[in-house]
Structures are given as structure tokens and as C-alpha cells.
């Protein structure tokens, strides 16, 4: 379970999210947290630890066990002027709420000609690598990114987690906020006073490691994996530029294309299945925007077209350092 960090400056991602939520609750009395087990328990990942105690049961609400109900009531609260922040317990449990998300949350602002914004944040701990049973390791982000009206974003580190959760809550658009659960316990120095500025606008991708020979685009849990791969590649004399996308809808194609125009090669990495995953859209766009610059096709490294497998074999499903480097090899073999 997450370590709160003893020094103010060192945060796990879990603690950073907790601190970000706390700030949002303090800053705006309209912020309401809703979810299963987020009160006394503090959520199964303890992201909301202590918040119900400090802000009360009206602001941090343990909801009946029904995701559609949670998101649907969040819509109603938003109509009444609240800013609901919904926690979905695990990725695989968001689907009962799919109708409310796709037909209501995503579309209501447009339907109302801009009169009724839907400032709802839907937090989803996502992805695998934690040895869990079925439905606890999925990466459903493409469903949401394909849905107009939703923003989709994913932090990869404590600083972004702290800043982006606050930005997401402040944003009048609905945001599906994909939290890389296996990175919840990753630590980093965060200075709350400057974090928002340091993180920058949430719509911007970030070059987290500059390089020359190929660009690696990734987000959420895969950023650390790709950084490790880039470090390993350096030993082999290959210089990889790693881009943390941060925003999955919209995509910051400008930043990514600028990188690819320099390196001439792109590998996209995510845990979600490759088929119609984010990598498909990125490959389609970059193949068009960098048509004369690409020296190799865009290589996609990701999950397979199969249900997420039992945990004893998940390491073969998930892209790891070796698979990323294999993708880089393929990109460089052209």
C-alpha cells in the first residue's frame, strides 16, 4: 500500500493524486468525490485516503455498487453546478457506465448548445502488471478517445499526477483520467508550489528524453518502461527520443511530429491491444504528417488481440523493455 512519503517533497503517485484531490476539494466547494469504497477505506488503492474524514460524507461519497448509477448521478450533480470526480474501482468495471459516459457525459455540452457543461472527471486506475485477476488489468482508453466530447489523459509520474488531476477537475470538459495503477507507488520529488506550472498545459505532450535515432511515443505506465528501454538502448549506441503523450484525446500531434521529423522513425507503445488502440491513430496521423520524413513505417508495440490473460502469463502480454527495443530494432531495420 502507498507510502505517504515522509518528506514533503517526495511523493508516490498515489500520494500525489491524493494531494491533488485534496487541493481541488479545498479550492472549490463544488468538487464532490464519488465512488465505491472511497470513504473510510480511502479506495482500494488509498487514493482518497483521509479525504472523507477531512471533508465529510457529503463531499467524499461512498456510492451504491453501480457504476452507471455513479456516473449518471454525477451528470445530475454537474447539472446542478457541482464538479463530480468519480472513481471507477478498476478499469474492467467502467463498462456498466458506458452508456452514461458516451451518450450523456460526452454529448450533453453539445446537446445543450454549450449551456450545460459537464465538468466531470472519471478516474480509472488502468493497466496490468500487478498480478491481478481478470477485469483488473485492462486498458480501455481507446473506447473513450474515440468518443467525441471526452478528453482523455494519463499521467506517468507523480508530478503530472498532482498537476493533471487538478487541471482535469478545473477543466469544464469531461475528462477520463487514466491512472497507471502499477505506477501508483513510483516516487518522485514534487514541489506543490510550482507543480502546476512545471507540468504545463495538460494538452501538451512532453519530450521526456531527447534522442536522435528514433522516437518512442508512450503514455501512462509505459513511460517508465520506455525510459528504461532508452537507457538500455544507449548502451547499444542508440539514442531514443521518448515522448510522453499525456493527453490521449486530443493528441498533441504537433510535438510528436516535430520529433519524428527529426528522428525519421517512430515506435508507439501502449498496453492496450494494438488493433484500434491509440497507436493506430498515431500511426495514421504521423504516416500522413511525416510522409516524406519517415524512413520506416510506424511500429506499434502493445497488447494483443486477446482478453487480458491470467496474471501468470501477463508479462508476455505487456510490452516490456525487450519488446520496446525489438520495436526499435524493427524501426531501424528499414
Amino acid at each position: 500500500m502507498p507510502d505517504g512519503g515522509t518528506e514533503m517533497a517526495v511523493f508516490t503517485m498515489a500520494k500525489a493524486l491524493n494531494a491533488g484531490l485534496r487541493r481541488a476539494l479545498e479550492d472549490d466547494p463544488k468538487v464532490v468525490l464519488m465512488g465505491e469504497d472511497i470513504g473510510r477505506l480511502g479506495g482500494v488503492f488509498r487514493i482518497t485516503d483521509g479525504l472523507q474524514k477531512d471533508f465529510g460524507e457529503h463531499r467524499v461519497v461512498d456510492m451504491p455498487l453501480a457504476e452507471s448509477g455513479i456516473v449518471g448521478t454525477a451528470v445530475g450533480l454537474a447539472m446542478r453546478g457541482y464538479r463530480p470526480v468519480v472513481e471507477i474501482q478498476f478499469d474492467g468495471f467502467v463498462y456498466p457506465a458506458f452508456d452514461q459516459i458516451v451518450s450523456q457525459v460526452a454529448k450533453h455540452h453539445a446537446r445543450s448548445s454549450g449551456r450545460t457543461p459537464m465538468p466531470i472527471v472519471i478516474r480509472i486506475p488502468f493497466g496490468g502488471g500487478i498480478g491481478a485477476v481478470e477485469h483488473h488489468s485492462e486498458s480501455p482508453e481507446a473506447y473513450f478517445a474515440h468518443t467525441a466530447g471526452l478528453r482523455v489523459m494519463s499521467p506517468s509520474n507523480p508530478l503530472d499526477a498532482y498537476a493533471m488531476i487538478q487541471q482535469a477537475i478545473a477543466c469544464p470538459d469531461p475528462v477520463v483520467f487514466m491512472e497507471p495503477k502499477r505506477r501508483y507507488w513510483d516516487k518522485a520529488e514534487v514541489d506543490p508550489a510550482t507543480a502546476l506550472e512545471a507540468a504545463g498545459p495538460f494538452e501538451r505532450a512532453r519530450v521526456v528524453r531527447p534522442g536522435e535515432h528514433a522516437t518512442v511515443a508512450c503514455y501512462g505506465p509505459m513511460v517508465r518502461t520506455c525510459l528504461e528501454a532508452a537507457a538500455a538502448a544507449e548502451d547499444e549506441g542508440r539514442s531514443l527520443e521518448v515522448v510522453d503523450l499525456r493527453s490521449l484525446s486530443p493528441l498533441d500531434i504537433t510535438t510528436l511530429a516535430a520529433s519524428v521529423q527529426r528522428t525519421g522513425r517512430l515506435v508507439v507503445v501502449h498496453e492496450a491491444p494494438v488493433f484500434l488502440g491509440l497507436g493506430a491513430e498515431i500511426a495514421a496521423r504521423i504516416s500522413a504528417e511525416c510522409f516524406y520524413h519517415l524512413q520506416a513505417p510506424v511500429i506499434r508495440v502493445g497488447g494483443y488481440h486477446a482478453p487480458y490473460p491470467p496474471s501468470r502469463v501477463e508479462e508476455h502480454y505487456l510490452p516490456d523493455l525487450d519488446r520496446v527495443l525489438d520495436g526499435v530494432d524493427r524501426a531501424l531495420s528499414y
Binding site: 464532490v32 457529503h58 456510492m63 451504491p64 453501480a66 452507471s68 448509477g69 456516473v71 449518471g72 448521478t73 454525477a74 451528470v75 445530475g76 450533480l77 454537474a78 447539472m79 446542478r80 453546478g81 457541482y82 463530480p84 456498466p96 452508456d99 452514461q100 451518450s103 450523456q104 454529448k107 450533453h108 455540452h109 453539445a110 446537446r111 445543450s112 448548445s113 454549450g114 449551456r115 450545460t116 457543461p117 467525441a148 466530447g149 478528453r151 477543466c171 469544464p172 470538459d173 494538452e203 484525446s249 486530443p250 493528441l251 498533441d252 500531434i253 504537433t254
Partner: protein, 365 residues
């Protein structure tokens, strides 16, 4: 299921226009108030008839008729206070009327010039919801907002008999009862969900569903505007007083087709409809008003004239509604600047501009 609503039906005005008493519900209305209700009923029906005609003339893509449900809607709508909030389905033209939404606003949606139509906050009347049952949860959430605001407003949410089968509606029952939310679930049981009779949704009267969730349910004669007004008022008062939700089942009948796209002759017999014609929601009020001297011939004629004028104006205004600009497709997809939308908007703008030079709008046609 009994066609007459069974022994527990709350009724204050019989189909024959007789005022009857009920042990639990009563209502005192002045002649003026009674006349106002009658006027509502007639105008609402006239709007509905006109809209149906406009659809036949090709001015609307679709219309969902309320014929037969005027009393249920006017009764419920007039029970609601200005600061209360109403969540309609797609058939709530009568309630819309009571919330001050101009009929033309409703037509916009069915004409296809908007997916919305009015300002929900101006009227405290949400946009029509087409996905069956979704709005039930919105209502509960809105009610939770009221609880947090500490005001004594209440919420009325409409849905049909068919909607009671949806998970979302039942989740709304759970959430409303657990949070004791100030919500009145107003179910217009018009006996049909398109072609499916009530028996496809339940084997017991719908009002009894509420007991399974721990809150009261009442079945009211949905063709009796007085009873609906009284029952809904009481339910709203109960919500306001902190007693949580109530389910009101307005027992009525869909006299028309499901929508103008529907052909009810395929699935129901004319005799059933004839039987319900005898329970017309307007006729009984007219008889009651006339018989008791609450209104005279002139009044009835005035209302007819007003209805006619309303219809004429609606027709003209409808025909004059402009089509949206193509580029409006991108309006309000987000509340903030969005690079994807911007690039697609620019793409469409440029594409459209590429035709503006040429005489013809396209190459293929």
C-alpha cells in the same frame, strides 16, 4: 392487469366529470385555477395535433405524440414549483408547456435543427432524453445537489412503463432511496412501449415497484388532471420535507402511435383505443366545468380560438426555422479549445470554401 387501473387507483374526477373524494388525496381549486388547467390541456393537445400535422407535411422529421397523456402531464407539471427541476423523456410536451418552454423550442429537436432546443436552466426543465431511462439517474444526482445546497427544492423525473425495465431506472430507485433524495419518479404508464404491451415489462402494477426499494408508490388516474396534480403535489411536498422519493404511476393510455414513424395497427386492436376514448382527459374537465358553472360557453370558445392562433403561429414559426450552418457541427463539442476539433473544423471550412467559387456545389450531383 386491469384496464381500469384497479382498486388502488387515485381518482378525483371520473371520466364522466363527477368530482369524487379520496381518503388520502384531495385538492381545493378555484374556478380560475380549474379553467387554467382546462386551458393548458386544450392548448397542449392543439400543439400536439399541429406538430403531428407538421410532421406529415415534411416539416418535422419525427414527432412523439402525447395524445391521451395531457392530464398526466399538465397535472404533474402544474404541481412542480418554479425552483424545482424536471427531467423529461421525449414526449413531455405538456410538462414543457407548464415550464414555459415555447412549443417551437420543442419542434426544433424534431425538425432536426438541434439536439437540444431550450435553456434548461431558464426553465428548470432538462433537455429531452432519448436514451430510455438515462435521465432517472440525472434526476437523483440533481436531487443530491439540492441536498448539498440545503434548499427545499425537489425534482420530478418522467419515464414510461417501458423504461421501468432499464437498469438505470432501477439504479435510480436504489440511489434515491439510499440517499433519501428529494425526487419524484413520475411514470406515465401509457400501457405501451412502442409495440410491447405492459406485460412485457412487469407482471404486477408498476407503482408497487417502489415498495421493493423502500419508498412509497402511488397509482393515480393519469387521465384525471386533478388527481395527478394532487398526488404529485403531495409527493413533491414529501420530498421537500426530507422524506425522500416517491413513485407516482400515472395510469393512462397512448392514444396515438408511438411516434409518427409507428404503425400501431400492426400490434393493437382499435377496440382498446375506443375504450380509452371514453376516459378522455379533457372531456371530463369540460363537463365538470360546465356542469358546475365554473366556465361558460364563451370561455370554451376563447380557449379554442387561442389554441387555433397558437397552432397557426407554431406552423409559421416552424417553417421559418433556419437550418444550422454546416460548421456548427463543431460547436460546443468541448467547452474549451480543442486541437482535434479545431483542425477538423478548419478542414470542413476549407472544403466548403472550395465549392464557393464554382457554380455547382459538387461534382457528383
Amino acid at each position: 392487469m386491469t384496464a381500469d387501473g384497479g382498486p388502488n387507483l387515485v381518482q378525483l374526477l371520473t371520466p364522466e366529470g363527477e368530482r369524487v373524494q379520496h381518503p388520502d388525496y384531495d385538492i381545493e381549486l378555484s374556478a380560475e385555477e380549474l379553467r387554467a388547467l382546462y386551458r393548458d390541456l386544450v392548448l397542449v393537445r392543439r400543439v400536439d395535433v399541429e406538430a403531428t400535422a407538421l410532421q406529415r407535411q415534411g416539416e418535422l422529421g419525427l414527432w412523439a405524440q402525447l395524445l391521451g397523456q395531457e392530464a398526466a402531464q399538465v397535472g404533474a407539471g402544474r404541481a412542480v414549483q418554479p425552483d424545482d427541476f424536471v427531467f423529461p423523456t421525449y414526449r413531455e410536451h405538456g410538462i414543457a408547456w407548464t415550464r414555459g418552454v415555447a412549443p417551437l423550442q420543442l419542434l426544433k429537436l424534431f425538425r432536426g435543427v438541434t439536439n437540444g432546443g431550450w435553456d434548461p436552466h431558464e426553465h428548470n426543465f432538462a433537455l429531452y432524453t432519448i436514451v430510455i431511462g438515462d435521465q432517472a439517474l440525472h434526476a437523483v444526482g440533481y436531487g443530491m445537489g439540492i441536498q448539498r445546497d440545503g434548499t427545499d427544492d425537489a425534482v420530478l423525473v418522467c419515464f414510461g412503463d417501458g423504461a421501468t425495465s432499464q437498469g438505470d431506472v432501477n439504479e435510480a430507485f436504489v440511489f434515491a432511496s439510499v440517499f433519501n433524495a428529494p425526487v419524484v419518479f413520475f411514470c406515465q404508464n401509457n400501457q405501451w412501449a412502442i409495440s410491447e404491451p405492459l406485460e412485457r415489462q412487469t407482471r404486477i402494477p408498476l407503482y408497487r415497484r417502489a415498495a421493493g426499494f423502500g419508498f412509497p408508490g402511488v397509482r393515480v388516474d393519469g387521465n384525471d388532471v386533478l388527481a395527478v396534480l394532487a398526488v404529485t403535489r403531495a409527493a413533491l411536498a414529501s420530498a421537500r420535507e426530507g422524506n425522500g422519493p416517491t413513485l407516482v404511476e400515472a395510469f393512462t393510455y397512448r392514444m396515438g402511435a408511438h411516434t409518427t414513424s409507428d404503425d400501431p395497427t400492426r400490434y393493437r386492436i382499435a377496440a382498446d383505443v375506443e375504450q380509452w376514448k371514453l376516459k378522455d382527459p379533457i372531456e371530463r374537465v369540460k363537463v365538470y366545468l360546465a356542469r358546475n358553472g365554473f366556465a361558460d360557453h364563451t370561455f370554451f370558445e376563447e380557449v379554442e380560438t387561442e389554441a387555433e392562433a397558437l397552432a397557426v403561429k407554431l406552423r409559421d414559426d416552424c417553417r421559418a426555422l433556419p437550418d444550422p450552418e454546416p460548421i456548427s457541427i463543431f460547436d460546443n463539442v468541448y467547452a474549451t479549445q480543442n486541437s482535434l476539433v479545431e483542425s477538423e473544423r478548419t478542414g470542413l471550412r476549407d472544403y466548403l470554401a472550395s465549392f464557393s467559387d464554382t457554380a455547382h456545389a459538387g461534382r457528383g450531383h
